[in-house]
C-alpha cells in the first residue's frame, strides 16, 4: 500500500455493497423476528437480539478496518500459523469449553463467547491456499498431492466433531469446489453428487422402482450412443455403472432396514420427510414452510408476521432467519436475498479468477465455496429441500461469532484483491 492513499482504495465496491445490503436486511429481520407487539421494544434495545446484533456489526467494522490496515502479505505468510492457532483453540475448547446449547464449543472472554469452530473455515482456507500456492503441486496428475489437503481438513474435522458441532464440520464439503477448480478430475464431484442424490432417492422410494428407472435410463443411453462408442467399451461401461448404482440403492435399503436400530432409522427419515414426525424435528421444517408459504407474493409487511412471532419457528433469529424474510416480505423479499447471494458468490469467483497469485485465487474460491455451502444448506432447510443442519445464513443470522468469521473471511480476500495491481504473478 502506498503512503497517503485511503485504505479502501481498490476494494471491490460491488462486493462491499452486497455485504452492506445483507447486513442491513439481516439486522432489520432479526428485529422483526424477536419483535414483541406487546412491548414495542426498540431496534436499538441492547436487551434483545437486534440491539446485540447492532453491537456485533459495530465491532465487525472495527475488525474490517484492522484487516484493511494490515499488510496483505501477512495472511499468506502466517497462513499455517493461523491454522495452528485455530487448531490449538479447538483443542482447548474440548477440555475447557463452556457448554452452551448442548455443545462444548465456546470459549468465554469476559462477557463475550466465541466459537472457535466458526473460525475453522478461515484457518482451513488459508492453509489450503498456502499449500496450493506452490506451483509444483498438481491436483490433476499427482494423487499424493491430495494427502496434505486431506490432512488439513481432517484434523479440524475430528476436533469439531468431538465438540458436537456436526454442522460446522459439514461445511468442509465446500472445499470440493476449489479442488475441482484446481484440477481435480470432474468425475469425482460428479460421482459425489450422483451418490448423494441416489442415497436420498433410495431412502424415499422403493428400491425396485429406482432399479427399474436406472435400467430404463441405461437402455436409453446405450440406444442413443454412437455405434463406435458402443463397440469401444461404452456398452460395458454403461452396464457396469448401472449395476453399481443399483447395488448402492439396495445396499442403502439393506443398511436402513437390517443394520440400523428403529429409532436411528427414524432420525434419518425425519431429515428427508419431516411430515413423518410433525412433533419433533419435523416440526421445525413444517412450521418454517408455513411461515414462508404464508408470506405470499408481497409478504405481510414489516413486523406483521404472525407465524414467526411467539416462538412458532424455533431459532427464529439464528438458523431460521430466512423464515422472517419470507413471511414479512414474501416472494419479493426471498428472491432479493437469493439473488444477492448468487451475485455475491459469482462476483467472488470472478474476482478470484483475476488474481495473479495462485494463493489469492485459491483463497477466493474457498471463500465463495464456504458462502455457497451455507446458502445452500441454510435456505434449503427452511424450504424443505435440505435436512435440518444447524448452520447460520451468512450476514443474516444473529450471532457474533458467525458474523465476525464470515466478515473476516470476506475482507481478507477483498484486501488481497485490492493489492492485485501491485502483485507479481507467481504462476
Amino acid at each position: 500500500m502506498e503512503e497517503g492513499k485511503p485504505i479502501t482504495k481498490n476494494v471491490d465496491w460491488m462486493v462491499v455493497l452486497i455485504y452492506i445490503a445483507c447486513l442491513g436486511i439481516g439486522w432489520v429481520n432479526i428485529y422483526a423476528a424477536v419483535y414483541n407487539p406487546e412491548t414495542h421494544s426498540s431496534i436499538f434495545d441492547l436487551s434483545n437480539n437486534a440491539g446485540k446484533q447492532l453491537m456485533w456489526i459495530g465491532t465487525t467494522f472495527i475488525l474490517i478496518i484492522c484487516i484493511l490496515v494490515i499488510d496483505y502479505k501477512f495472511y499468506e505468510t502466517f497462513s499455517f500459523i493461523i491454522y495452528a492457532i485455530v487448531i490449538f483453540l479447538l483443542v482447548v475448547v474440548l477440555f475447557a469449553g463452556s457448554n452452551i446449547n448442548g455443545s462444548r464449543s465456546w470459549i468465554k472472554f469476559g462477557a463475550i463467547s466465541l466459537q472457535p469452530a466458526q473460525f475453522a473455515n478461515l484457518a482451513v482456507s488459508l492453509a489450503i491456499s498456502k499449500y496450493l500456492s506452490d506451483p509444483a503441486i498438481s491436483l490433476s496428475r499427482k494423487l499424493k498431492d491430495y494427502y496434505p489437503i486431506l490432512g488439513i481438513i481432517i484434523l479440524p474435522s475430528i476436533l469439531i466433531l468431538l465438540s458436537n458441532e456436526t454442522g460446522s464440520m459439514l461445511v468442509f464439503a465446500s472445499f470440493a469446489i476449489i479442488l475441482y477448480r484446481e484440477g481435480m478430475p470432474g468425475f469425482i464431484p460428479a460421482i459425489g453428487i450422483i451418490s448423494a442424490a441416489l442415497l436420498i432417492i433410495s431412502l424415499l422410494y422403493d428400491s425396485w422402482y429406482i432399479a427399474g428407472a436406472i435400467i430404463v435410463i441405461a437402455g436409453i443411453v446405450i440406444w442413443l450412443m454412437p455405434v463406435m462408442t458402443r463397440r469401444r467399451g461404452g456398452l460395458v461401461a454403461t452396464i457396469l455403472i448401472a449395476f453399481v448404482m443399483i447395488s448402492i440403492v439396495f445396499g442403502v435399503d439393506f443398511f436402513m432396514n437390517n443394520v440400523l436400530q428403529k429409532h436411528q432409522r427414524g432420525r434419518i427419515m425425519v431429515l428427508l420427510d419431516p411430515d413423518s414426525d410433525p412433533r419433533g424435528i419435523g416440526w421445525n421444517v413444517i412450521q418454517s414452510k408455513i411461515a414462508i408459504g404464508s408470506g405470499g407474493f408481497t409478504g405481510k409487511g414489516f413486523l406483521q408476521g404472525t407465524q414467526t412471532k411467539f416462538d412458532f419457528v424455533p431459532e427464529q433469529s439464528t438458523d431460521f432467519i430466512f423464515c422472517t424474510v419470507g413471511e414479512e416480505h414474501g416472494f419479493i423479499g426471498t428472491a432479493v436475498v437469493v439473488t444477492l447471494f448468487i451475485l455475491l458468490i459469482s462476483r467472488l469467483v470472478i474476482l478470484a479468477e483475476r488474481q495473479r497469485s495462485r494463493f489469492a485465487r485459491v483463497y477466493g474460491y474457498c471463500v465463495a465455496g464456504i458462502f455457497f455451502f451455507h446458502f445452500l444448506v441454510n435456505i434449503g432447510m427452511t424450504i424443505g429441500l435440505m435436512p435440518v443442519i444447524g448452520i447460520p445464513l451468512p450476514f443474516f443470522s444473529y450471532g457474533g461469532s458467525s458474523l465476525w468469521s464470515f466478515s473476516v473471511l470476506l475482507f481478507i480476500f477483498l484486501k488481497i484483491d485490492a493489492q492485485r495491481p501491485f502483485t507479481l504473478s507467481r504462476g
Binding site: P278, G296, T306, T339, I342, V349
Partner: protein
C-alpha cells in the same frame, strides 16, 4: 483449460439459485395450503399436556397424583361485562374486588391475558363455565398441580419442576420445551419417561382476534396426548408415615424391604420435608431454604449416606467364616490375646452366642482365620491374598458397589481391597495387624443404610436377594423391570445361616437388643454402634421377622444416638410390630421413641449464622419452610401457544 471450469462453477451456483427461486415461488405463490384464505389467519399449534402418571402404594392407595386446577384469566382490553353484579355474584366476589382485580391485571398488560382468579377447583369451574360465555375478555386456563400425600417420602419420590436451561440444552432427543415440567430427582426423575406420557399436538387456524377457524389440513398432522403410565410401588404408606413419626427430631435412615421380592416397604430419610412445597410457585424460595438447612433434608440418606456398619458387620464375618470352613457352628473364642476390648458378658462357645453377645474378640479371631486361610507363609503376602479373597465374597452381598435401586445417586460406600491398603501403606507393607478393625465393621469399611437392609434381607432369605426397588409395576400391566426379577446368590449355603439367625434371635431375646423385644413375634436382629469423628456414636440395628417366614427386613440408622440398643433397635422393632400386626403393645416405648430428641446431639459443621435458637421450633420436624399456597405458572403456560 482449467480456468474454463469457472463457468461450470458459476453455472452450478446459478442453477441452485434458480431451483431455490422456483421452490420459493411454488411455496409462496402457487401452493394455496400455506397462504390460508384470509391473509390475517394464522396457524397455531396447540399443545395438549398429557396427564402425568400417578403413583400407588402396595395397598392401592394413591400417594402421588395430579390436582386439576383452573385459572381464570382476564384480558383488560376485551372486557365487556354488562351485568357486573351478576358476574360478581357467580364468582362469589364483591364489586370492589372485581375492580381491583381488573386494575391489577391492567397494570401488567392491557392486551395480554393475565391472572384474574387462580386455582378454581373442578366444581367451581363447572358451575361458572356456562355463564362465562356471556362475558368477553375472560378465559379459563387448565392447569394441574403435582400433589403428594403429606410430608413423607420426599427424597424417594422426588419432585417435578420447570426444566432448567442446562437440562433443555442437554436433552438427547428434542422433546422438552421451555417451561415444561420434568422430574428432578427420586422416582419422578428415574421414571420420567414412563410418567410423562406423550404430548399431543393440534394445528388449528384462527383469525387475528384469536377466533377458532377450524383444523389446519383437516387435522392430518394432529396427534393425541397420551397420559403417562401409573407406577405401582411396594411402599406401605401407613408404615411409612408411622416410621416418619418415629424419626421426628432424629437424623438418620430407615429402610424396610420385603425379603422375598426386594420391594421397598418403607424408606425414611430424616429429617424429611413436605414434597408439596416444591410443587408450588414458591419452588425456588422453598428449595433454597431446604438446601441451606444445616441438617441437609435434601440429602437422601438411605442411599447416599455412608456409615461404618459397626457390629452389624459381624453377621457377614460369621457367614463367610462358616462358608469357608475356618469355623464351625461350635467354634468358641475367648478374650485372650486380642487387641480389641470387649464388655462383660457370658462365655461364647458357639457362633450363635458370639453373635448374641456381639463379642469383639470372637470376630477378631474369625476374621484373622479368614484372612490367613491360605498356604502362604509370608504374613504380608498372605494378608494381601486373603483380603482380596474376602473382598470378593463380601462383594456378593452387594457391599462396596451400587445395588442398582431405582433411585438416583446411589453411593457405593467402601469395601477395601488389597489395592486400597497398598495405596496407604505400600505393597507388602501391611498385614492383618493393620486391618483387623474391619473384623468388627470399623476402620475403612463404609456402607449405606440401603445395603444394610439388603443384608438383613439376605439373611432372612438364607442366601439370596433381589435388587431392592421402589417401583414393582409400570403401567396397566404392572410390568416389573427385568433387572428386578434377577435372583442374586451370595454363595453362602443356606444351612450356614442357621447359627447366625439363632444368634440374632438371642440378641433380641436376651442380648444387646433385649429391651425392645416384642411379645409374640420372633425377631432376629443385630445391633451396631458406628464410631464416627463427629460426636456420639451412631445407633444401628438390622433385623428381620418373623423368623419362620420373614415378611420384613429392616435397617435403622440414627445418627449420634449412642449404642444400637438405645435408639435403632426399639424403632425397628416398633415398625416390625406395626407392619405385622397393625398395632403396638408397648405404648410407653412408642411414646418414648417418638419424643426422643437425638438431633440435639448432632454436631453441625460450623454454620454461617446461628441456627434455630428456639428449641420449641425444632420439636416439629426440620425445615421451617412455610407451605405457601401453590400457584402454577400461568404466564409460562400461555407461552406454549
Amino acid at each position: 483449460m482449467l480456468e474454463n471450469r469457472r463457468f461450470v462453477i458459476i453455472g452450478f451456483f446459478t442453477l441452485i439459485g434458480i431451483i431455490y427461486l422456483f421452490r420459493l415461488f411454488y411455496l409462496q405463490v402457487l401452493d394455496e395450503s400455506y397462504s390460508i384464505e384470509s391473509s390475517s389467519n394464522s396457524i397455531k399449534r396447540v399443545i395438549e399436556v398429557p396427564f402425568r402418571g400417578q403413583i400407588y402404594d402396595r395397598n392401592g392407595k394413591l400417594i402421588v397424583y395430579n390436582t386439576p386446577v383452573y385459572d381464570l384469566l382476564v384480558t383488560p382490553n376485551k372486557v365487556k361485562v354488562d351485568d357486573t353484579l351478576r358476574f360478581c355474584r357467580v364468582l362469589g366476589i364483591e364489586r370492589r374486588e372485581f375492580d381491583s382485580l381488573v386494575n391489577a391485571a391492567s397494570s401488567y398488560s392491557r392486551n395480554k391475558p393475565s391472572l384474574f382468579l387462580r386455582q378454581l377447583s373442578k366444581e367451581d369451574f363447572a358451575s361458572i363455565q356456562d355463564i362465562m360465555v356471556d362475558y368477553s375478555g375472560f378465559e379459563f386456563a387448565k392447569s394441574s398441580m403435582r400433589t403428594y400425600k403429606g410430608a413423607t417420602l420426599a427424597n424417594t419420590l422426588g419432585y417435578v419442576s420447570e426444566i432448567s436451561k442446562t437440562q433443555l440444552a442437554k436433552q438427547e432427543e428434542p422433546y422438552y420445551r421451555q417451561s415444561d415440567y420434568i422430574g428432578q430427582t427420586g422416582i419422578e426423575k428415574i421414571y420420567e419417561n414412563e410418567l410423562r406420557g406423550k404430548r399431543g399436538t393440534k394445528f388449528i387456524m384462527q383469525n387475528v382476534s384469536g377466533v377458532y377457524k377450524g383444523a389446519w389440513k383437516n387435522g392430518e398432522l394432529d396427534t393425541m396426548a397420551v397420559a403417562g403410565e401409573n407406577l405401582y410401588s411396594g411402599i406401605d404408606i401407613d408404615i411409612q408415615q408411622y416410621a416418619d413419626s418415629l424419626m421426628v427430631n432424629k437424623v438418620g435412615s430407615i429402610v424396610a424391604i420385603e425379603p422375598k421380592t426386594g420391594q421397598i416397604l418403607s424408606m425414611v430419610s430424616a429429617p424429611t420435608y413436605d414434597p408439596n412445597i416444591l410443587a408450588t410457585r414458591f419452588f425456588s424460595k422453598n428449595y433454597t431454604a431446604l438446601y441451606r438447612n444445616p441438617y441437609k433434608p435434601l440429602f437422601n440418606r438411605p442411599v447416599m449416606a455412608s456409615y461404618r456398619p459397626g457390629s452389624t458387620f459381624k453377621l457377614i464375618q460369621a457367614l463367610i467364616g462358616l462358608q469357608e470352613g475356618v469355623i464351625t457352628p461350635n467354634s468358641g473364642f475367648t478374650h485372650a490375646n486380642c487387641p480389641i476390648g470387649c464388655h462383660v458378658h457370658p462365655g461364647t462357645p458357639t457362633v450363635a452366642l458370639g453373635v448374641t453377645h456381639s463379642c469383639n474378640p470372637y470376630f477378631y479371631n474369625v476374621f484373622r482365620r479368614i484372612i490367613y486361610n491360605n498356604k502362604i507363609s509370608n504374613t504380608f503376602k498372605a494378608s494381601a491374598v486373603g483380603l482380596d479373597d474376602w473382598h470378593d465374597k463380601i462383594s456378593k452381598f452387594g457391599i462396596g458397589q451400587q445395588l442398582g435401586i431405582d433411585l438416583p445417586s446411589e453411593r457405593k460406600g467402601n469395601l477395601p481391597d488389597k489395592k486400597y491398603y497398598d495405596k496407604i501403606y505400600g505393597e507388602n507393607r501391611w498385614k492383618f495387624s493393620n486391618i483387623y478393625s474391619l473384623s468388627i465393621g470399623e476402620g475403612e469399611i463404609l456402607i449405606t443404610p440401603l445395603k444394610m437392609a439388603n443384608v438383613a434381607a439376605i439373611i432372612a432369605n438364607k442366601g439370596y436377594y433381589y435388587t431392592p426397588h421402589v417401583i414393582h409395576g409400570i403401567g396397566e400391566k404392572k410390568t416389573l423391570k427385568p433387572e428386578f426379577a434377577i435372583r442374586h446368590e451370595t454363595g453362602v449355603a443356606a444351612h450356614n445361616f442357621d447359627p447366625v439367625i439363632e444368634g440374632m434371635l438371642g440378641a433380641v431375646e436376651g442380648g444387646t437388643a433385649r429391651r425392645s423385644r416384642v411379645e409374640g413375634i420372633s425377631i432376629a436382629g443385630k445391633t451396631g454402634t458406628s464410631q464416627n469423628k463427629r460426636g456420639m456414636d451412631h445407633s444401628i440395628f438390622i433385623a428381620f421377622a418373623p423368623v419362620e417366614d420373614p415378611k420384613i427386613a429392616i435397617a435403622v440408622f440414627v445418627e449420634n444416638a449412642g449404642s444400637g440398643g438405645q435408639a435403632a433397635a426399639p424403632i425397628a422393632n416398633l415398625i416390625i410390630e406395626k407392619y405385622l400386626t397393625r398395632k403396638i403393645t408397648n405404648k410407653a416405648l412408642e411414646k418414648r421413641m417418638m419424643e426422643a430428641d437425638f438431633m440435639k446431639n448432632v454436631i453441625l459443621p460450623a454454620p454461617p449464622k446461628p441456627i434455630v435458637k428456639d428449641t420449641t421450633k425444632r420439636r416439629q420436624g426440620i425445615p421451617m419452610v412455610p407451605i405457601e399456597k401453590p400457584m402454577p405458572k400461568v404466564i409460562n403456560w400461555l407461552k406454549r401457544f
